[in-house]
Each structure stands twice: as C-alpha cells, then as structure tokens.
Symmetry: C2
Subunit: 256 residues, 2 copies
C-alpha cells in the first residue's frame, strides 16, 4: 500500500488538541475530514499528540491508501481546505514501514515566555506572560539536571501500565530581548512533561527553588512535588526527527 | 484640567478598526468603556486611526479629566479590563496642551509579508502571505521614490476638502528569512496610504511594474492607477513621535 508523510504546522488556539474527539474541533478531525474528500476513509498516525492550545511548526503525520496519490495536488487541496490555522508544508511518499510515531527518533519542543511587566497582544497567543523578572541562568541550570535518562513520574500525567522513563537529549533556556525561551529535545516525551519542566524552571527563575532541587523532584516519583502546569499556549512542537538511513525502522530504544 | 497620555498596543484582528462605531467592536469603544468605569465620561484623542484588522505596538491616546488620577492604578485597571487583545504599556501625566494627534511629529508603520510557498499559521494574523518569489531590491527601489513631499492622491482614500500632500521621511523594504518587511515613517499618512504603497511595491516585486513607474503613479493623482489594497492584517503602527522639547506645541508643518 502506498504510504505518505505529511508535514504540518498549526496555530493550536482554536483546537481542543491534536487528537480527534467527539463534538469538539481538533487538528486530526479537520485533517481527516479534508483528507476524506480526496482519499476516502483513511486512518492517520501522528508523531506527537499535542494538547489543546499547543502549537506546531513541524508536526508529522503518516497514512496508507490503496491507490497512489499525486502529492502536489494533495498538498494544494489540503492547504485550500485547512488554512490559515493549519498549513501542510510538505507531502512525500515514504516506505511502507514508515510510521510517523514509532519511526521517530526524536522530538523537539520550544516554550516561550513573554517576560515584561506588560503583555504584548501580538505574541499573546504563543507566549506565557510572566511580568516579574526571571533569573534565566537559574532556569537553564534547572533543565540541565533533566538531560539524560530519568524516571519522569513526577512530571508526567499517569498512563496506567506505561513507563515514565524517558531520555532527554538536550535542554536550554535562553533570553533574547523580552522573550525567554526553552528548547528541549528527547527521544519521546510523556504527557504534560514539557509543561511540568517549565513549571519547575519558572519556580527556580523566581527564586522559589534551586536548580539542585531537581534530583529531589525526580526521586519523589510523585506529581505532588510539582505545583501546577505551565499554560499550553507557550508550547510549540518544532520538529520530529527520523533516522534518515532507515526511515521505516523502529529503533529498539524508542520508548513507546 | 489634568491631561494624560496612554501608550497602547493591540492585536487588531478582532476589531473593526480603532475608531468607535455603533454596534461593532472597536479599540476606542473598548478603551473608553474601560476608562468610563474609572474616570466617568471622557473624550479620547488618538494619534493614528487604524483600519479594521490593523495592529499597533505604539499607539498613543490622550484625554483630559477634572480631577488628577493615579497613573499606576489607571494602567493596572485598564490592563485588567482590556487584555490580552489590548495592552496599555504606559500612562503619564502630560502638559495640558498635549494632543495625541496634533502634537505628533511623526508616525512609523511596519508591513510584513510572509514570502514562502506555504503559509505559516503562527504568523498568519500579522503577515500577508505571498507564495511567489519577490524581488525585494525592486520593492525597496520603489518606495525610495515616495520619500519626500508629494501629492499622494493616487494612494489615498479621498477625504473631501482635505489635502493629500504628505511628507514621507523614510521607507525601506528588507528581507529577513521568510519575512519581507517595510518600515515607513512620515509626518502623517492619509487614509489607506501605506497599504497602497505596499500594493505598488508588490507589483514591482513580482516584475509587473518598475520602480521608475512611481513618478507616473504620483503624477496621475487618481486611484485608478493603483490596483487594489494590500490586506490590513500585515500592517502595524509601530511608533508615534513627539517633539520632546515642547510636547504640547503643534508644529506648523504638521498636515492636519
């Protein structure tokens, strides 16, 4: 069966997250409705199921169909139906064993904070407004402790029977002007993990905790040690990476 | 009477422009409703009346009241009522002769184009999407011809009995990555002038006209020579300047 990869971006503001749900607007719902007009019934696989309000620049979706498709026409038709909130930046035929989720070898997210006393209406949809000064050095020191393989049970919404062990590949907080930004990549993230890491970082940035508290937080393996969840609209899925050499294989170290 | 200056920013997407109108949402309407709760009935003056969909980073409003106000409390109260689409970045007491519109000595606007085949959902509210390649050198050469004192009748929506002579102080198109951006300042602009200049620029950027056509366009003194109007959502009022030495005076060369 011919298999296709779709790269897409979206403004998550108006969606109840990526994953299809009954009676509410979702990215998957809009995408599959648009695809249905072209391909008939089709089942799509997504690399990263983003929550309500979370944005994407480099989301990846895969699906298989019975008969070959014209990729340029498919892209044009999807963009005509889905814009301006969803944009398809590429459509490509891939090997039959390509799986947007299981073939992925890494995900990178960005989290943006608008760090000035007064908010900025033009970035309000994509940044968390924190008026108090933030110690970005302390925030960067905090996320350094998360790099490597750890049990992130304190920072994940529980999924019964699933491991909460993940490998964070890198994580940096930097300031550029009034924007304070986290870039973080991992093989895979568990649910709500990035927004919990932001919460812990901001606590340190406000001087309420220290970077060295992270090992204690991780060791607790309980969500009670992390207060609240950073709001979704500061978060954007930037990129999903695949092993270019063997795009269809599932590396054994991917945490499913 | 104590007189105040308010600096504000807004995302123009949800507003039918700045100026108050009956039965539709406007920036002035929201602002005066919020002010009314604090000061009672008040008449505000604005530096630049932006059209529906146009944004602002540095809009300026002035008003006078009978009794002095606590500027910090006023700012906090306005931001509590108006966010996140409108933000008040500053409130200051000014001289009684300060007039947001007549005291202004210059206005600066930005116009942004997203110049890639596929649009970007996260900048779609603030950029005009033009998929075809643009010759930014030709666009920059085009706006160079508008600098100076000219009759902009070909580029302005007519206001009976008002002059269409304006002085453009500087105008530049530059590319940074996928964004092509105009920065333009003038003592004052007439209605729809910047968006008409963008239309003429984009014609040159697509090779449909040449920079040297501008003198012919100006000489025509007719809107028939400019086809269409660039969409409002790419436009942002960036700053209004005042003569710092004498903030309350109206320079004789301001075109009212």
């Amino acid at each position: 069966m011919p298999t296709y990869r779709i790269d897409l971006a979206y403004d998550g503001t108006g969606f109840h997250g990526y994953a299809r749900q009954n009676n509410v607007r979702t990215v998957q719902g809009d995408l599959e409705t648009a695809l249905f007009r072209i391909t008939g019934d089709v089942k799509t696989i997504v690399a990263g199921r983003t929550d309500g309000g979370v944005h994407a620049v480099g989301q990846v979706v895969s699906f298989s169909v019975d008969a070959p498709l014209d990729t340029r026409r498919l892209q044009r038709s999807l963009n005509g139906q889905l814009g301006p909130e969803i944009a398809v930046s590429g459509v490509a035929e891939v090997g039959g064993d390509f799986h947007a989720r299981f073939s992925a070898t890494g995900r990178r997210y960005r989290y943006r904070i608008w760090n000035r006393p007064v908010l900025d209406p033009l970035t309000a949809r994509t940044t968390w407004h924190i008026p108090e000064p933030l110690d970005v050095g302390a925030m960067d020191g905090t996320v350094g402790w998360f790099v490597g393989v750890h049990d992130f049970a304190s920072l994940c919404r529980k999924a019964p029977g699933r491991t909460t062990v993940r490998e964070v590949l890198d994580a940096r907080w930097i300031r550029s002007g009034d924007i304070v930004e986290l870039s973080i990549s991992a093989v895979a993230f568990c649910h709500q993990m990035v927004r919990s890491i932001v919460t812990v970082s901001v606590d340190a940035g406000k001087g309420r905790s220290r970077p060295e508290d992270v090992p204690v937080i991780l060791a607790a393996r309980s969500r009670d040690v992390v207060r609240g969840l950073a709001p979704p609209h500061g978060l954007t899925l930037m990129a999903v990476t695949y092993d270019e050499a063997e795009p269809g294989t599932v590396p054994s170290w991917v945490v499913l």
